[in-house]
């Protein structure tokens, strides 16, 4: 998976965040990325030094912190470019890419500062009724990285109980889609319920049990809230403690399995009940 990524690419991350991929990207010191991501997983990519530009609609923190701390620092110091948008504009741009159109119109954002601070969003007069709308350019990720429950060896991906809100937009828009899955299943398993196949032919799948940790994985484990809280606690000050945290969980483990060992079996097995 890492061989497909080069510095400066545009990468999109689904929901829940494919943390196994994100850890590999940070560990391999991929630089100057443009990312479509949000919240704490975005914050970790920024803390890891991978991000130059973010297509951003939400970077909240949680646990008493209103704004994701690394995102906030990088914005306020001027080192991060922000392609300011919101959920409706984002999905419109992704749809335009999937439909091979240069843009699609959207209304949310008309009258706001968004077209002023994001010059790629243009106010247009629609040719049918003469309404003023936003033209949202196609957003074309080089690769969409997603997390799902299962796939067969042919890339027939099945999200447990359906996909999250953003995954299929990213899949349809991206030039390639790589999915980390909890479990690789047989092709017969997929054929037993083809309606459950959410992505028909991903470009790559990687078997990665517990791959969404510390986030949740539908049908498997729930969110590791205390782990996320400890990340916010160390990220708040943007200092040495954050460096130690990154070293311990992102840079030192040389594989996904080593990361899981560092987290510990006790903690992982505690995530099945809520």
């Amino acid at each position: 998976m890492i061989a497909r990524i080069s510095h400066g690419m545009t990468l999109a991350f689904g929901e829940p965040a494919p943390m196994g991929f994100i850890r590999q990207i940070i560990r391999n010191k991929i630089r100057d990325l443009t990312v479509i991501a949000s919240g704490m997983s975005l914050d970790m990519l920024i803390a890891g030094g991978c991000v130059k530009k973010v297509i951003s609609y939400y970077a909240g923190g949680g646990f008493g912190v209103a704004v994701a701390p690394s995102f906030r620092r990088a914005c306020e110091s001027g080192e991060l470019d922000v392609w300011e948008c919101e959920e409706g504009i984002l999905t419109t741009g992704l749809e335009a890419a999937g439909k091979a159109l240069p843009y699609l119109p959207w209304r949310g954002g008309v009258g706001t500062s968004l077209p002023k601070i994001n010059k790629d969003l243009k106010l247009i007069e629609d040719p049918i009724e003469g309404q003023v709308l936003l033209a949202v350019p196609a957003i074309k990720p080089d690769i969409a990285f997603l997390h799902a429950a299962e796939s067969d060896a042919y890339g027939n991906v099945q999200h447990y109980e359906g996909p999250g809100w953003l995954d299929l937009f990213l899949y349809r828009a991206a030039k390639a889609t790589i999915v980390q899955v909890e479990k690789v299943v047989s092709n017969e398993d997929v054929r037993a319920n083809p309606w459950a196949t959410t992505i028909a032919g991903a470009d790559g799948i990687v078997r990665m049990p517990y791959g969404a940790h510390p986030f949740y994985s539908r049908g498997y484990y729930v969110q590791d809230t205390s782990f996320l809280r400890s990340y916010i606690d160390v990220a708040k000050d943007q200092g040495e403690q954050l460096e130690d945290f990154l070293t311990r969980y992102f840079f030192s483990p040389t594989s996904h399995e080593e990361y899981l060992e560092e987290v510990g079996i006790k903690r992982l097995l505690s995530l099945y009940e809520y």
Binding site: A68, R72, T91, L114, I117, G164, Y216, Q223, T225
Partner: protein, 261 residues
Amino acid sequence: MNCTPQELMAVFLSRELKDGEHLQVGVALPVPEAAVRLAHIMHGPNMELIFLGTRMNVHHLESLPLPAFGWDRRVVRWAESYSDRGHRFDQVKDWNKRVFFIGGIQVDPRGNTNLIGIGENHERLKFRGPGSVGTPTLSTHVGRYYIVLNQHSARTLVEKCDFISSVGWNSGGADARKKLGIPGGGPKYCVTPLCVMDFTEEEKTMRLKSLHPGVTREEVELNTGFSLVIPNSVPTTTPPTEEELDVLRTRVDKTGILRGT
């Protein structure tokens, strides 16, 4: 007063909400969350609650533990659907039935709000906000919305927002939204720990509607960064009834988030 300002805000908002309405609450808004759940119990058995993308009716429950995160039925166990299954913006034509709540790091007298940041230069903000989430689209389309602030301060209530992420009444006038071609009903009230404000009928500029018990108009003026329209006679916000407060404390806000405990 027999309750905290946050409890009063929740009770005030709950009385605003009508049975059968679709009520959408986003992340980190404890007062609107409590208001919706209180209204649902008190007078809204047919309400549709949309919390963090989770749609449900939970009128039958004695109390409702909040969905702590994400879309997993073990956590959000009363969900009937999740966020339109990836098509959350494909039916905005029906959002006139929806009521929404919005916070802001800045709010101006026309009810325009800012979640983007503070500073003159977007490339180097003095304070970076969390971002717009889906609020530009929601505030464009929903039937009406309420601006709800955790603090009433002159730093938040400002003459002019540095950036506008949700347009309220733009530069003013009852036809301001129509001129922009924005279909939703716009902001109805701005509710803070000190008072409730509405918008004048013609200019659509913010006006003091009621003062919370014990709060003076001078206190509001001092903590508002623009000149607020203040009528000669300003009523007091109706305090909660014993029943409302009892339901709020024993069935809605059991852990006391609004009581500051």
